[in-house]
């Protein structure tokens, strides 16, 4: 099932499928690109940032950015 990265639940895993083209190069520098596996690690309340785990390290993203990343989640 496809959903926005911002909509992933805690502990859920998925593969990045699409990234807003204006964000692509910026996120690539942080290791987020199409084909990469992500796991939702933390969601901060009140429209706060999300933290995802990639390749054994964590990255926090603003909700606005997480909205523009489409992920294919398992199950």
């Amino acid at each position: 099932m496809r959903k926005r990265l911002s909509e992933m639940d805690y502990g859920e895993e998925g593969v990045v499928k699409e990234i807003d083209k204006n964000l692509r190069s910026r996120l690539a520098g942080m290791g987020i690109r199409v084909g990469v596996k992500v796991k939702m690690a933390t969601k901060q309340p009140i429209k706060g940032p999300v933290v995802v785990t990639i390749d054994r390290y964590s990255i926090s993203l603003g909700l606005g950015i997480a909205d523009k990343i489409i992920v294919e989640v398992e199950g």
Binding site: S25, R26, A28, G29, M30, G31, R56, Y57
Partner: protein
């Protein structure tokens, strides 16, 4: 010639900087911004060489003030050798920046820092292979204990510009 220390935020650039310069550290302010960078000197083959601790950046397309300063310093010092400090546990994003710098034509040496932490996390990096693909010196370091710093210094002279197309070919990638 100058040496620029570059890398993602929080990879131990300043720890490497302190190792390379010893106590001769000067704080300075880059004009036009509020972001500080640090400048110092190190001895290389009997000569005093200026070394700049550049603010951390993820890419050469700046998205904030600190990154703007980083890119500006790089572009204003075309005759520099860049020591790209990479967190060994976050290899991919470190290499992204390193390759961008190589693509701009700078001679680069890669310091795979926090080598001990990578080992603890069971991350193994094939240094020989990485070196062969990139065509630049790659040195594992543990800046806080000083391990690998001597080798890093001794290999600065091996750094030379590399054609990005050759890297792509050696990596077996397509464009």
């Amino acid at each position: 010639m100058k040496i620029l220390l570059m890398g993602n935020p929080n990879v131990g650039k300043s720890a490497v900087f302190n190792r390379l310069t010893g106590a001769k550290v000067i704080e300075s302010n880059y004009p036009g911004t509020t972001v500080d960078y640090t400048k110092g000197y190190m001895r290389l083959e009997g000569k005093e060489i200026e070394i700049i601790d550049v603010p951390g950046t993820f890419s050469l397309e700046p998205k904030d003030k600190a990154e703007e300063v980083a890119v500006k310093i790089l572009r204003e010092n075309k005759d520099s050798v860049v020591i790209c400090v990479v967190d060994s546990t976050k290899l991919e994003r470190g290499l992204y920046l390193a390759i961008e710098i190589i693509e701009e034509g700078y001679p680069v040496v890669i310091a795979l820092n926090m080598w001990d932490i990578a080992k603890d996390k069971n991350i193994w990096i094939d240094i020989e292979k990485l070196q062969n693909i990139l065509g630049v010196p790659v040195v594992p370091t543990i800046a806080i204990s000083g391990e690998g710093i001597k080798e890093l210094i001794s290999r600065i002279k091996e750094a030379s510009p590399v054609d990005i197309k050759k890297i792509l070919k050696r990596a077996g990638g397509k464009r």
